[in-house]
């Protein structure tokens, strides 16, 4: 492989990893704090994709500023959807058997898929053009949108790091993830923070959908395709760890892209094999730690 090809393939992997990170960081965050495996996370990602599509293509027309507005809209809409889901649907279940939360998020996949179909129809929805030009690396090209996406993912990672280490809300959320009881005793309003973290996680899924849609194609049910790989990501990285989601995304992205070149038969299998091996040696994933028990 010549160096130019290696560089573009590296960017392919990083782009893919960036999308994965945006999806799985929210999933991991919600699990870490609320101990809920949000099966509907892919559906939220789908909603984010449709919102960005609507804002850019149906309303404002393609431009960089409309993309920014669309991302913000995606985050805002999906995060508020998240708040509604958490307040109205999940909150009554906190003192009930844990499997009910799983059942509910599964039901939400069905509900959100069909609502999206009602609003936007069943047909493929896609960007007519891909925003931005391309950088040349030898005879290959790297779309500038790839680089923008990678920067967005990095920015989100840094922002999350700042949020959890420097802000009072972030610190409180981290406290909750260590011990719910102690946090309650310390006077942290865990109830409000649950809503906040669910909204944050959902907002990340919305952003992921928005960032992905210009290069992907939106359709109802697209979330189901996205969610399984993000399960692998957060298990590899350690559930509840943002750093884990970051590293896990890189591992999955790189292994997938380079396996497709070296030995394509193994492209998908390798991800699950990596996952199994890591769990055998580090039961909590690369950056996971023993979590507090479920409530």
């Amino acid at each position: 492989m010549d160096i130019n090809l290696f560089i573009v393939q590296l960017f392919n992997a990083l782009f893919f990893a960036s999308i994965l990170f945006l999806i799985s960081s929210g999933l991991s965050l919600i699990y870490g704090i609320m101990k809920i495996l949000n099966l509907a996370h892919g559906a939220l990602y789908m909603v984010g994709a449709y919102i960005t599509f609507t804002v850019v293509i149906l309303w404002l027309g393609l431009s960089w500023y409309s993309m920014v507005i669309a991302y913000i809209a995606s985050i805002a809409v999906v995060a508020s959807l998240g708040i509604y889901i958490e307040r109205i649907l999940l909150k009554p279940l906190y003192n009930k058997p844990q499997d009910l939360q799983l059942l509910l998020t599964f039901a939400l996949i069905f509900i959100l898929d069909d609502i999206v179909k009602m609003i936007w129809g069943a047909q493929y929805r896609a960007f007519p053009t891909i925003p931005g030009w391309s950088l040349s690396v030898g005879e290959y090209q790297i779309p500038v949108y790839f680089i923008a996406t990678i920067l967005i993912a990095l920015g989100v990672a840094l922002l999350l790091h700042w949020f959890f280490t420097k802000t009072i809300y972030g610190k409180m959320i981290r406290a909750i993830s260590y011990s719910l009881e102690t946090s309650a005793i310390l006077g942290i309003n865990t109830d409000k923070l649950f809503a906040l973290s669910f909204a944050l996680g959902a907002g990340l899924a919305g952003l992921a959908g928005g960032v992905a849609v210009p290069l992907y194609t939106a359709s109802p049910g697209m979330g189901g395709d996205a969610i399984v790989l993000s399960f692998a990501v957060i298990v590899i990285g350690g559930m509840g760890s943002i750093l884990g989601a970051f590293v896990g995304s890189l591992i999955v992205g790189l292994s997938r892209v380079f396996m497709a070149i070296i030995y394509p038969v193994f492209e998908i299998a390798l991800i699950y094999i990596i996952m199994a091996i890591i769990l055998m040696f580090r039961p909590t994933g690369l950056f996971g730690r023993e979590m507090r028990e479920r409530r």
Binding site: L100, F110, I273
Partner: protein
């Protein structure tokens, strides 16, 4: 050999008497639907041995269903083996899958166990698609023979096997082994301290539950006379979990009813409206709030109310 006949057994026997008689009054389609219902019920009962009784949530049980279905279909159609050898092949396949995945995933519990089983199931799904010379890939295997060939007759074959296995499950949870399952579910640390080999108990439960799913899959392949890989996909694993929770994971009866009822809810939702997914989703969500302990939980509440408790 003594055991106490309890309410659960009464209910199960009554239900099975009903299930023996009712096909006589049903159309051939409804007998077919009921056959699928019995198999889903069997799957839920098997899954519940692991989930409700041993406290392990597997998100990959579709792999056992497909191990049974594919094992049998490959034996009968691709290798032209006789039925007995094909069944043996399916069991061997199931056993191998169960031991390997069980050994590797039972080092973990809770969500990591769920995710690992999911990963293995997806790996098997990928393998089924990939190994198309053996499995037919995405086009599956069709032309699987059925005996007896008519649905009415085949229903009773399913019925007998499901009956035996459901009663067996009822029985197992009342033996020391089943008590061990429940102890591991409630408090694995204490169980270990009392001298229970927790990993072994979990593995037994995992394999046993896998065999239930496998037998359901083995009966399912001839019922449809054709299989495609969607029975190995993760959504089918999720459905197995969901129907068990719907029915009630507390006992064998609940899981069995969950399987039966899920089939009807699913079918009815699709008949009612173009937006059947939304309808199904809303019904599932409503069940979460109205029947947190499953449909059997409602029965029990009604019963207690009637008795004035």
């Amino acid at each position: 050999m003594m055991f106490k006949i309890d309410n659960e057994l009464y209910s199960l026997i009554t239900l099975f008497i009903f299930l023996a008689v009712i096909p006589q009054f049903l159309s051939i389609y409804n007998v077919r639907l009921l056959s699928v219902g019995l198999l889903y019920g069997l799957a839920a009962v098997g899954f519940n041995l692991l989930y409700g009784y041993t406290g392990l949530l597997s998100f990959g049980h579709a792999m056992f269903w497909s191990a049974g279905a594919y094992g049998l279909a490959i034996g009968l159609v691709k290798l032209n083996l006789d039925p007995l050898m094909s069944i043996l092949l399916a069991f061997t396949l199931t056993f191998t899958v169960a031991i390997v995945t069980g050994y590797l995933s039972l080092r973990h519990t809770e969500i990591y166990f769920a995710m690992l089983t999911l990963a293995f199931a997806q790996l098997i799904y990928a393998l089924i698609i990939k190994l198309r010379d053996i499995t037919g890939g995405d086009e599956g295997i069709y032309g699987i023979p059925r005996f007896p060939s008519d649905i009415g007759g085949y229903y009773y074959l399913i019925y007998i096997i499901v009956f035996i296995l459901v009663i067996l499950a009822w029985w197992i949870v009342r033996t020391p082994l089943g008590l061990g399952f429940q102890a591991v579910r409630d408090n694995p640390y204490r169980a270990e301290a009392l001298g229970l080999d927790v990993r072994r108990v979990r593995l037994i439960s995992f394999v046993l539950s896998g065999f239930y799913l496998s037998i359901a899959g083995m009966l399912y392949a001839p019922l449809n006379r054709a299989i495609t890989p969607d029975i190995a996909f993760w959504t089918f694993s999720a459905i197995i979990v969901i129907m068990t929770i719907i029915g009630g994971s507390k006992n064998v009866l609940g899981a069995f009813i969950g399987g039966l009822i899920f089939i009807y809810i699913n079918t009815q939702a699709m008949n009612l409206t173009e937006f059947w997914q939304l309808t199904l989703g809303i019904i599932l969500a409503l069940l979460v709030y109205l029947a947190p302990y499953g449909i059997v939980g409602i029965f029990e509440r009604v019963l207690r109310y009637v008795r004035g408790g």
